[in-house]
């Protein structure tokens, strides 16, 4: 079943909001049938537009020992080595959760996750800093998380509206 641009966008927006909406609900939210929704999702997955689905977790509520750090990297480029080459080498490490090329005082922003502070330190000093193109690293340990990918971690506010109002 062919899927048009608008349908793809609509499905993508809904899944971006909550990837666990059921096919039946997605069809109710839109003027698409369940078959059309399924076709759109399949196409988005097959084309690589959707790379995966993950839960957004408040680390303070799961008693995890995971340590997170934001690492800023400066690099030098040469005739043979571009940003993509360096990015490929960094992205391969499972400790690297996200990797972005950014504008400003440094080149790459990495989010690192490991099961102890020592592991993070060793990973940065032994694996990252030793790459020949990397000229400087600055590591910031995450102390608390208040909001992640648009989701706030606090208690939220109670619904204090009157239960029935005109």
């Amino acid at each position: 079943m062919p899927v048009n641009e608008r349908e793809r966008e609509e499905v993508l927006e809904l899944l971006g909001e909550n990837a666990r909406y059921s096919i039946a609900d997605l069809a109710r939210f839109t003027d698409l049938s369940e078959e059309e929704i399924e076709a759109a999702i399949e196409e988005l997955e097959d084309s690589g537009a959707i790379r995966g689905y993950q839960a957004i977790v408040d680390p303070s509520r799961v008693g995890t020992e995971q340590v997170r750090a934001r690492v800023e990297l400066n690099v030098t480029l040469d005739r043979e080595t571009g940003y993509e080459d360096i990015a490929r080498r960094l992205a391969g490490f499972s400790e690297v959760q996200s990797l972005r090329l950014v504008s400003g005082d440094y080149d790459f922003a990495l989010d690192i996750e490991a099961d102890s502070m020592d592991r993070v330190s060793r990973f940065v000093s032994e694996k990252v800093a030793r790459l020949p193109e990397i000229t400087q690293t600055v590591t910031h340990y995450v102390m608390d998380t208040y909001k992640d990918r648009g989701i706030e971690m606090g208690e939220g506010s109670d619904d204090d509206r009157l239960s029935v109002s005109p």
């Binding site: 809904l14 609900d25 069809a27 109710r28 939210f29 839109t30 239960s163 029935v164 109002s165 005109p166």
Partner: protein, 379 residues
């Protein structure tokens, strides 16, 4: 103490009794709420806090802060083609509710008939009566998707009325009226010299189409008071901020009443509103998208249950027909047996009987659960 007759004449709102029932019941999901479930966009709240920190807590000019009136006039012009002078034709009020009351007091003389399209929001008939007017019910019907028709106006004796009250998008039905549907109403008002109070508080919550204001139709600007506010679109109900757009004479008359009755609208809320107009358009869009999604969800669920429900295209209500036809009995049983509160349509005037006002200003998870409960209750 002797209470004035015109106050004694108005019974307490039927919604009150239902509110008490719903409050007593346990584990209730409410689809009975007439206000957004979203908090006011943070940017506007932050501006309100900042205004308090700077000590901006004095009265403002009667009509409201000039900066706010400018911003209101600009948005209405750009968005809805409503062109009003910010100094002579714009009045900021304590909620759209105050603006409605002012409009009645400015337009209605004792004994004047006020035609009200029913079912409607509960404040219009009392407002008209408090101003000394006589209420003329004009029915709208499910068969016409709860739009007001020329024929209904004529048949109810609208020709003798001084004022017509319109509320589209409508509370409680969720109905909207397009320009072509408003045109005959405008014609009727011109023919029989009716003034119009057009409550457009839900204008920004119009789905699948653009909102149409009767004030933009030929010959209508000079006989219409447009009322709007920040409560619904910007989720600012508790901040109590509305406004009225009206030709100079009517605006001056309303301002005169407002000057003595209210002096000025809440200053903190005015600061929040300036920020809302400047920075919160994206929030409005996002909230509307959420409401629209829920609207389609609720309509789809009622269709699956085989419940008759016309396709509401505005506000955050749908108005399904009640099996058996007695909305009060149904609503009470639904509350007691299924733990779902929704307001019986009869509360909103005779024309609402046989229907239920279902508000989807409720998070999707609760909405889903409530509809599952309704489905189980019907089986």
């Amino acid at each position: 103490m002797k209470i004035a007759d015109r106050v004694e004449r108005v019974p307490p709102s039927g919604i009150r009794r239902f509110f008490e029932l719903a409050t007593e019941a346990e584990d209730v999901i409410s689809l009975g709420v007439g206000e957004p479930d979203f908090a006011t966009p943070w940017s506007a709240r932050e501006a309100a806090i900042a205004s308090l920190e700077r000590g901006r807590t004095s009265y403002t000019s009667n009509r409201g802060l000039p900066e706010l009136r400018d911003a209101i006039a600009r948005r209405e012009r750009e968005k809805r083609d409503l062109s009003y002078d910010p100094d002579e034709e714009t009045l900021v009020t304590a909620g759209a509710s105050e603006a409605i009351d002012l409009a009645f007091r400015a337009l209605v003389d004792p004994g004047d008939r006020v035609a009200i399209a029913q079912p409607s929001y509960v404040c219009y008939p009392p407002g008209a009566i408090f101003a000394g007017g006589e209420v003329l019910d004009v029915p709208t019907r499910a068969a016409e998707d709860f739009t007001l028709t020329y024929e209904a106006l004529e048949a109810s004796g609208g020709a003798d009325a001084a004022v017509l009250v319109l509320c589209y998008p409508n509370n409680p039905t969720g109905a909207t009226m397009s320009e072509s549907e408003l045109a005959p109403i405008a014609e009727f008002c011109r023919e029989h010299d009716l003034a119009v109070i057009s409550d457009e508080i839900y204008a920004d919550l119009t789905y699948d189409r653009e909102h149409a204001s009767i004030a933009t139709l030929p010959g209508m600007r000079e006989r219409t008071i447009v009322i709007n506010g920040f409560s619904k679109a910007y989720a600012m109900t508790g901040l109590r901020l509305g406004y009225a757009l009206a030709p100079p004479e009517a605006s001056a008359a309303m301002t005169r009443v407002h000057q003595y009755a209210m002096l000025s609208a809440p200053t903190t809320a005015q600061h929040a509103a300036i920020d809302a107009l400047r920075n919160c358009e994206e929030d409005v869009r996002e909230m509307r998208a959420q409401y629209d999604r829920r609207r389609q969800f609720v309509l789809a669920r009622f269709a699956e249950m085989g419940i008759e429900c016309f396709e509401a295209t505005g506000a955050f209500y749908v108005f399904p027909e009640v099996p058996g036809g007695d909305s009060e009995t149904f609503a009470e049983a639904l509350l007691e047996e299924a733990g779902v509160a929704a307001v019986p349509g009869s509360v909103f005037g005779e024309g609402g009987a046989g229907h239920l006002r279902v508000s989807y200003a409720t998070g999707l998870a609760d909405l889903r659960e409530a509809l599952d409960r309704i489905e189980a209750f019907l089986d």
